[in-house]
Subunit: 331 residues, 2 copies
Amino acid sequence: MKETPIAIIGLGLIGGSLGLALGTADPKESPFGRARIIGYDANKQAMRTARGRLAIDEEAPSAAEAAGRAAIVIIATPVQAVREVMAEIAPHLHQGALVIDTASTKAQVMRWARELLPRTASFVGGHPMAGSEQSGIDAASIDLFKDAIYCLCPDPQARSEAVDTAQALVETIGAKPYYLDPEEHDAYVAGISHLPFLLSTALVEMTSRSPGWVEMQALAATGFRDVSRLASGDPTMHRDICLTNGPAITRWINDTIRFLVEVREAIAEQNTAALDDLFNHARQVREAWLQRTPHQRPGEPGPTPGREDLGPTIGQLFMGRMASRRRREEK
Amino acid sequence: MKETPIAIIGLGLIGGSLGLALGTADPKESPFGRARIIGYDANKQAMRTARGRLAIDEEAPSAAEAAGRAAIVIIATPVQAVREVMAEIAPHLHQGALVIDTASTKAQVMRWARELLPRTASFVGGHPMAGSEQSGIDAASIDLFKDAIYCLCPDPQARSEAVDTAQALVETIGAKPYYLDPEEHDAYVAGISHLPFLLSTALVEMTSRSPGWVEMQALAATGFRDVSRLASGDPTMHRDICLTNGPAITRWINDTIRFLVEVREAIAEQNTAALDDLFNHARQVREAWLQRTPHQRPGEPGPTPGREDLGPTIGQLFMGRMASRRRREEK
């Protein structure tokens, strides 16, 4: 049976979950046949745990060594570390190797790839729209990517077969490939992913810095819990995202400040109509989003009944979109 | 067997859940014996549904009529409507009646009670720290208040027995009474409840007003879903909270703007250390809060193992605190 050696560098929540999902894919169904997962993490304990959990088949002594043994190299470290990993593995990549990453920002990573990786390898930027406020190999799960959107940004120099391989990888772990430009990606995720973790962090920081926090925290309930959830995310990941997606995040911060000033004025004027419009609009938008977009985690209750009646599912929209994206890429 | 007639005015999520919880309490265990629930809602359909769901035993033709039949009157309308309900029921209240509300802000409500209710009745402001982004009688549930904190702000003129009755009511529905001053209450909940729904709303409004929303919304996943959850809450409730707790909310808005400016500067300076500190601190604070405070909904997975080892539970802390609060009130 065909065997494909796949290196995963960085064995945290994402790297570990990738290993679990790839390692357990049915070799008869998978385009990779049996995936042989070579893992590396600078943290030896994480690497041992990944092995113990069967997220990887073998431990490599270095990122370079892992890359040198593989046809596909997945870099699943925090963003800032991607650069040094690329520099380290570059001389060891096989002719025709596919390199893919999982970082939350893409434009910076794509520039590093062009600068550091050899022309003989193909780079496809990747970003799974799935995660958890928990981090590390212990939080890894086999179905983290199930039905999640997986953003793909192929380097313009990437070979067509390498892009196909990246897409097959995404499909093998149960995710949906979604092609877009790195700059588009970074602007969009700044709004729907980075702004949310900043607002979560703002909520926790503002309330906990207040002299009333000791008493206040006892009153905080499920609303506080959910809005603050992302403040429990990996601090290094959050820091790196801010450092590599500064301009897009700054635009959203400015928008948020403008919005808060707007609300403050409506309150000062006791402007009932403006507040009514605001909260009604936000509710409508969110309800429409909930109906259209997959947002369930594995094991959570399914979509509300009647969803089928709402026209094409987001999955169908994606498929159409993806095909057109692919065609554009292939021109 | 003893029977206590209890009026619930306003049969939405909160009023309906109160009716369900009171109506099904074991009459042999309850200090009220058999609770007879008289319901009123301006929306006749909601009232019929409440009856059909057994959240109430009888429908009253008006708030005044409901109050005239009861020993305990619960006002469970949005904040702004509390005032007119008080004016309407005032002439119909029995000698010695307890009036309690459920509104999210307390100082304004306490002023209305002093202005409008007769001295022969006792008012205790109330606010259950439980809810859902769903609203209306259909979302009502029998265990909404189970283990939730229930803030109580007795009017200084309220009779001691009336305060005892309010506390018994809270305990009967499975919640934990928590005494505090109305101004304290409003300042605290502005931070842990009102600021969260404003941030949820800000997230939805900012992203959905953006030209990229059509594409962006497809990428939004569980992080966006949770941080935006409260934007699906009742718009009238949100509006009324802004109108009746303006100064406290404005202070939190100003704090948030200052915080966002701080983050924007750290990003502009690429200040790795400042961003590290920020995200690490927020995570630590939230994890400590999760360990200490009940924040599970009925049916959700229980607390993480090992929680028992963390010293006195928040419940024990509350009990001590509550006793001391009670003593202070009784002086």
